[in-house]
Symmetry: D2
Subunit: 287 residues, 4 copies
């Protein structure tokens, strides 16, 4: 089991006439990921906010209406993750005919994952590999090997087709490309917004992270196509079709933002079964 | 009230090793739209099929696994639509902060409605109009007036940005552009797959139709940006973020398709309150 | 030496108020390609036309102003091509610093060859190969192997980035992609409009053809990335940055076109040194 | 007549193994624009450089091969411009059939001016305006009014279709959009690289400028679609199909660049006929 301490500080300056925020900064509550304790502080005492459950009660969306002036959110929590660990060889793909209906949407193209345009390429490249977890893994590794991580090379309109052409991007772009390639061969894949435990400090301070889950067998398995973090230490905030759905902050109104300050630490305590996240050959799922 | 008779015949030739189909050909069952009777015949007696409810039990997805050979579906039904009719002047927009969470996704960009790229244009063009139903109507009319309907001018990858550039398309393209422009000013808008009652025969035989619903007040209102049908006679099959979600048929496998044969007729019977669909100044909603 | 007999018939129906045509249907006159005899017939006796030399007096542009009514052009000629044949191992690339100024434009991006977007991909894929003819050949073969020829899969707006994504197209698309990849590693490459001697009849009747020339050593060498014709039998009509420059017919006005009827035949006569075009391991240039 | 003093300093740090530069920093020598005196200093005494004439001997391309280390170019010159000033009402458009062949390329699409995709929009918007200078002017003003100038909103891959969608950009983007719209209605238009005399200091320090020339009557007329400078004081460096052709510096090799330092001053001396550039209702041409 993995125990994480997560601390977050978000700072904004809101101009007239105020602004509405939708945050996905709370860890999801899944069968495998549990919030042991948490605390949220909002600096504007009169700000109107509430938390709404989404996606089958698993995700938590914080809606907040702020008045003009400075706004700071401080959130900290303790999270336990008991990963579902499976031998990759035991994980089959699911024929389209047997996909649950709520999973089906994840084989369709979306704003940043235009899988419809990549079908021939993906079929040529991955269509004839043996089906199963290893095929999703092959797509993940292809993206890792063919795209270079470089800050400030993409923008809010950059999508999978751009990244496939230009072969450069940040974690979000790697995720979009892997998702698009999976969908193009009918593997359901979704975007995960989370945190980047174990990321190389040379890439910058700790940050939110974007990665991928692929539906195989009877659940969603985790992949990190940018290969910048340790999957076992990645904490899920929210999932969606792509980054359009699950930005950590969606803001309506005139706002200046400071970079988020994030700290995630893993607690090691063998007696209680808490071990540090490590790279593992097993397939990982948080439910 | 409107009573419609709807008949549909879909014909395919399925090659080895068979194919999986997802159909949205059943009318949705909403508070305003009711199926009085229906009958479905599938020509392959051993084909495996089932109907699953989606989108809050409102839509019906027919999943079908066909073996190789000819496949014909015949469906007919009688539908009653009791439109919610409202004076446009009474319909307010809903501030983002008060949008229901399940409506929120419809202000985000999607595969064919890249509203993120149109924000400045939409804001310049429509941002300063008085809020309310008339603003959505203004967007609808702008699309009608600035895009020309022409068959075979778009493909499965054509999206709203292409239509805004090239100013030509079919009903699906009109719908995508209107949706993208609405979302760009934070008006929730969704894609509707339905039928084209009242369409000009010069545009071709009766067909499936694509149109738009915009969320205002406390419900979804209907718009026909291609202006090719009579909204009061349009029957809703399914709604989604865009055409990627609600194709009338999504097919996995080697299949040749014949054009769909559709017939929709309105029944007039004043004694029972059934009148023919007409153009109306009222805002229409089917729930 | 190769001797070709070339016959062409183009048929149009011109509507009111007439139309202007620019044709590139005459073989270029280069150091290696010579027109022994030719004859042009224009069905409208009062049509106003002239032939202008372009591109250093090498190409011939036929400008024609037609009145409403049917218009037919018949052109036939006999062409001798004495290819410059070189051992590929002897052909060096030219450093950018030593490129002639009139060649330089062919390393810049153009409408259908957006080399600027492919620089990282091309550099990763081909940047580290040994310089010389074999590198251009490697690009040509990569395009052949990774793109599938299929009629009616592209349109007048399809460009290299689309073909790199979608991996399907016709000869023009193969040419654009190869050109873009060459330019992305600073190899000057240009688009050639010509004829498709030796094309597989299963691809359709004889037709105009699009292929590529790459500047190396001190001249332009010929490549056929769609691999559909026999390069030694391909006759050059015109060259340009991409298809935008050298369409065989550019038409201004309301015109209906019939498919071009083309016949190209090679004459074998060992005594006169005329042999049939064959595939050859030598590099070919027509000057 | 306008007399300008032009001073330029360009600074680079060249890394191993050196770099090749192509500069368009010398004023063009045209019938109307004359360089009275000039001086170029290159800081690397052993750098290999030469100036080549292009575009009918009118433009001057400075080719320079630099070794590793710092590189500074200082250029200063005195330029006399005797504009061709014409009453706009006297300037006709030229029918395509009568366009000179070397002008024809400027109605074809190019990398950043995809006029082929804008034909219907341009025809709807401008196709029915009276032909002549005022139609080009109408396009120029439409671009001014519908696009907002904002620094750092575009990149090296931004093209006219992006600017038409997103309605924001810098002078280069305004120029590309105006050019694309002109070509879409068969008005020949080209990209000019020059300097921004009279630009509002709030937009930044004096800089290179991008504007447009449209071919009408028997010459090229000047337009400033970003409306940021005084056309009479704009000095032409080079013209091309779009920015791909005439960057002020095209660099091959590992180089860090400082922002260019530019100073342009107009000399007033009524006795010698030198007056300050002003906005004028006349059409301007520099030949």
């Amino acid at each position: 089991m993995v125990r994480l301490q997560y601390q977050l500080e978000l700072s904004y300056t809101v101009a007239d006439p105020g602004a509405d925020f939708f945050f996905y900064i709370h860890p999801a509550e899944t069968a495998q990921q549990h919030v042991a304790s948490e605390n949220l502080t909002v600096s504007q005492p009169d700000a109107n906010w509430e938390i709404q459950l989404t996606d089958g009660m698993v995700q938590r969306c914080l809606r907040l209406a702020a008045r003009p002036g400075p706004l700071t959110l401080r959130y900290e929590s303790t999270i336990d993750i008991a990963h579902h660990l499976v031998d990759p060889a035991q994980i089959p793909e699911v024929p389209v005919a047997r996909l649950p209906l709520d999973v089906l949407q994840y084989i369709y193209p979306s704003r940043y994952c235009q899988s419809d345009r990549l079908s021939k390429f993906a079929m040529d490249q991955f269509g004839y590999l043996p089906q199963g977890y290893t095929r999703a893994k092959a797509i993940c590794e292809w993206v890792q090997q063919n795209v270079t991580f470089r800050s400030n090379t993409s923008s809010g309109t950059t999508a999978a087709v751009d990244t496939l052409l230009e072969r450069v991007g940040v974690c979000r772009d790697f995720a979009h490309l892997m998702i698009a390639l999976c969908r193009a061969i009918n593997l359901p894949a979704r975007f995960v917004s989370g945190t980047d435990y174990g990321a190389d400090p040379s890439l910058g301070p700790p940050d939110f992270h974007a990665y991928v889950e692929v539906y195989m067998g009877d659940r969603w398995y985790l992949f990190d196509p940018s290969n910048t973090a340790i999957p076992m230490g990645m904490m899920r905030l929210a999932t969606g079709r792509d980054a359009a759905d699950v930005a950590f902050a969606t803001i309506f109104g005139p706002v200046m933002s400071a970079p988020p300050r994030i700290h995630v630490e893993a607690i090691e305590d063998p007696e209680r079964g808490w071990s540090l996240p490590v790279h593992t050959p097993f397939a990982l799922s948080t439910g």
